[in-house]
C-alpha cells in the first residue's frame, strides 16, 4: 500500500469503462477511491458499445494516434484479461474497386502504426468466413477481438474493490461542492433509498462520458464533449467468426462483430443534445442491414435480435463532421484550462483504450497531488468479473 497515496481520497463520477478503469488504477496506486454511477455499471455508453476490441486498423489511415493507442492497449488487455475475450482476429474485406484502391493506403497505415496484418485473396477469405460476399476481392487479417463491455467493467471494478475501492451504483451526482475555486466533493442522490448525501474528496474525476459536460457545468467549466449516437443492430446467429470490417474510409454500418450467438452490425453517427433517451431512427436501422449485407449477404436474410443506440462521448465542437472528430481521448486538468482546482475530466476514447485513459488520468492526478505512485495496470491481471458480485 502506497502510504503517500492513501492520504488522498478521489471520487470518480461514472461507472462505464473509463470510470471503472480509473477506479482500478487509483485503487491499485493506493488512493482512497469511491466510484459513483447513476445507473447500473455499464448501463450507459460502454454497455451498449460494439463489443469490438480494436486492433487500431480502423483508424490507421486517418487517425494514426488512435490507431497506435488501440494496438498497444489491445495487446495489454489480452494479457490482463485472459480468458475473457474472443481473440479471433478481424478481416478487412474489399468488395469493390473503391475498396481495392483503398487497400494500399490501409496496408501502409498498418505498417506505420505497427499493427500486425496478413493479406488474403478473396477466395482464401471466403474459405475462412464462408458467409462473406461472393464479391469479396481481397481481405487483410488484423488482431481485432471481441469483448463484453459490462464484464470488462466488472473485472476492473472487482479488482478495484479488492484493493479497497467503494463502488456505488444507482448514485447520481446532483451537484459539486466548491470551496472557492476548488471542487471538494459532490452532492449525490441515492436512487435506491431516495436520499441525498455528501461525498467529499481531495479530487473529483469526471468520467461521465456523454454526460461529462453536464457534470463539468456543475463546476462552472465547459468540456467540449459531443454526444454522438450510433445505431447498432444485432442479428440472430453467428454469421462470422472473425470481426468483419469494410476496407475503406470509415463509414456507416461497416463493421460486423460476432459475439456469442449474434452478429452486431454498426454503426451510424449523428449528434444529439441530450443522451438520456435517444430515439432509434428507422432509416439508420435499414442502413445497417443494407451496408452489412454488402459484406455478408446473409445479414439480409436473418432476423434482428436487438436494435440499440447509444451516444459516444467524442471530443470536439458541434457542427464538426462527426467522423472527422478524432477518436482519441483527452484528460482535462481544469486547474490548467479553467482555473478550477481538484477537478479532472477524462473523455473521448474508446473502451479498448480505457486502461490507457485511466493511466493518463491518474498520472495527472498523482502529479497534481504530488504523489509518487507509478501506474501498475499494464501488468496487473484482473480478477474475474464474477467477483464483482462477491467482493
Amino acid at each position: 500500500m502506497n502510504t503517500q497515496a492513501s492520504k488522498y481520497s478521489v471520487l470518480v463520477i461514472g461507472g462505464g469503462s473509463t470510470g471503472a478503469a480509473v477506479a482500478h488504477d487509483l485503487a491499485l496506486r493506493g488512493f482512497k477511491t469511491t466510484l459513483v454511477e447513476r445507473g447500473e455499471i455499464a448501463s450507459g455508453t460502454t454497455g451498449r458499445n460494439h463489443c469490438l476490441l480494436h486492433s487500431g486498423a480502423r483508424y490507421c489511415v486517418k487517425d494514426k494516434e488512435s490507431a497506435i493507442e488501440c494496438i498497444e492497449e489491445n495487446m495489454i488487455l489480452r494479457k490482463i484479461m485472459p480468458d475473457s475475450m474472443e481473440l479471433n482476429g478481424g478481416l478487412f474485406v474489399a468488395v469493390n474497386d473503391s475498396d481495392m484502391a483503398y487497400m494500399p493506403l490501409f496496408i501502409e497505415g498498418c505498417e506505420e502504426t505497427g499493427i500486425p496484418y496478413k493479406q488474403y485473396t478473396g477466395e482464401e477469405a471466403r474459405r475462412l468466413e464462408p458467409y462473406l460476399s461472393e464479391k469479396t476481392l481481397a481481405a487483410v487479417w488484423v488482431p481485432d477481438g471481441v469483448f463484453e463491455p459490462m464484464r470488462m467493467c466488472m473485472a476492473f471494478l472487482a479488482t478495484a474493490k479488492k484493493n479497497g475501492a467503494l463502488v456505488l451504483p444507482y448514485t447520481e451526482v446532483k451537484g459539486l461542492h466548491m470551496e472557492g475555486n476548488r471542487v471538494t466533493g459532490a452532492r449525490v442522490w441515492d436512487r435506491i433509498q431516495k436520499r441525498e448525501y455528501d461525498l467529499y474528496a481531495d479530487l473529483v474525476v469526471n468520467a461521465a462520458g456523454p454526460w461529462a459536460e453536464n457534470i463539468a457545468r456543475m463546476a462552472g467549466v465547459d468540456v467540449p464533449v459531443v454526444p454522438t449516437p450510433g445505431v447498432m443492430t444485432s442479428m440472430t446467429g453467428r454469421l462470422c467468426q472473425r470481426v468483419i470490417n469494410r476496407m475503406n474510409v470509415s463509414s456507416d454500418g461497416d463493421i460486423i462483430v460476432p459475439q456469442r450467438q449474434t452478429s452486431i452490425i454498426g454503426t451510424s453517427s449523428w449528434t444529439v443534445d441530450d443522451a438520456d433517451y435517444i430515439e432509434i431512427p428507422e432509416d439508420h436501422v435499414q442502413l445497417m442491414y443494407q451496408r452489412g449485407s454488402e459484406m455478408i449477404p446473409q445479414v439480409g436474410k436473418v432476423k434482428p435480435r436487438g436494435i440499440f443506440v447509444v451516444a459516444r462521448p467524442l471530443i470536439g465542437r458541434k457542427g464538426q463532421d462527426e467522423r472527422e472528430i478524432a477518436r482519441t481521448f483527452e484528460a482535462f486538468d481544469h486547474a490548467v484550462s479553467d482555473n478550477v482546482e481538484g477537478f479532472v475530466t477524462i473523455s473521448g476514447g474508446k473502451t479498448t483504450t480505457a486502461r490507457a485513459m485511466a493511466e493518463t488520468t491518474v498520472n495527472v492526478i498523482a502529479d497534481k497531488l504530488d504523489v509518487e505512485a507509478p501506474c501498475q495496470t499494464r501488468d496487473t491481471v484482473l480478477l474475474s468479473y464474477r467477483d464483482y458480485y462477491l467482493i
Partner: protein, 248 residues
Amino acid sequence: MTWTVTYEIARYKPGEPPRTDTFKVEIEPHRTVLDGIEMIWAYQDRTLTFRHACHHASCGSCAFVVNGVEVLPCIVEIQSVVENGGTLRCEPLYSFPVVSDLVVDMGPFFEKMRMMEMPIITPTGPLPQQPADDYNRFENCIECGMCMSACPVVATDPNYLGPAPLAAAHRIIQRPDIPEETKQRIWELVDSDNGLWRCHVAMECTAVCPSDVDPGGKIMDLRRLATANRIRKLLGLKPKLPVGVEDA
C-alpha cells in the same frame, strides 16, 4: 404509429412497503420492453431502478418478469407481449433478493457460478463434436439468472445449485481444455443431494432461456450419466465416471 401501453411495475425501496406503480407509455410496437422502461426512467420517474447494459442479449443484466414469465426485455418487442392498450406487469426476477424495484442482487447466483469455475471463453463450438480449429468464443450462457427465477425448486431451496450452474457443470465436464481434477471436483458437487437430484423436471429453465443453453436438457444428460454410472456400480461393473465420457 405509436401504441399506448401500461407498465405496472412492482416497486420496492428499502424501508418502504412494496407497491405497484402504473405508467402509461407511448411507444412504437416494435420497440423493446426495455426501451419502454428506459423511457419511464427518462421522462416520468427518475427513482425507477433497473439493470441494463448491452441491449442485445449478451450481458444478461436486464432480465425481469413480465406478466408472470421471465423475459430478457432488451430483445422482447412490446408487440410480442401485449396488444395496443395492454398492460405489462413487471416484477423483479423471482427467488433473488430485491435490492430496489427491478434490481435484484445477483450475488447468491454468482457464488454458485463461481463454484463451477467455468471460463466464459471456450475453445470449442457450442457442441463438443465441433472443435473449433482456429477460433474461440464466449459460452452461450449469459448468466442472466432467468432459469434460476423460473425454477420452482430454486424458489424454495437456496441450497439447490440450480439450472445455470448445472448447465455450466455439463459444459465443464465436456470441455477438453479443463483439467481432470477440476472436472472431478465439479462432478462431486453436481452428483450430490443439492445438485442434480433436486431437479423435478419442470423444465421451465429451458423454456425461458434466452440463449439456447437448454439447462433442463443438460441436467437430464448429467443425470443419465450419473444413473448409468450408479447402475454399473450396482451390477458390480467397473464404474465408468462420466468425466471425459463425452469427449470420446
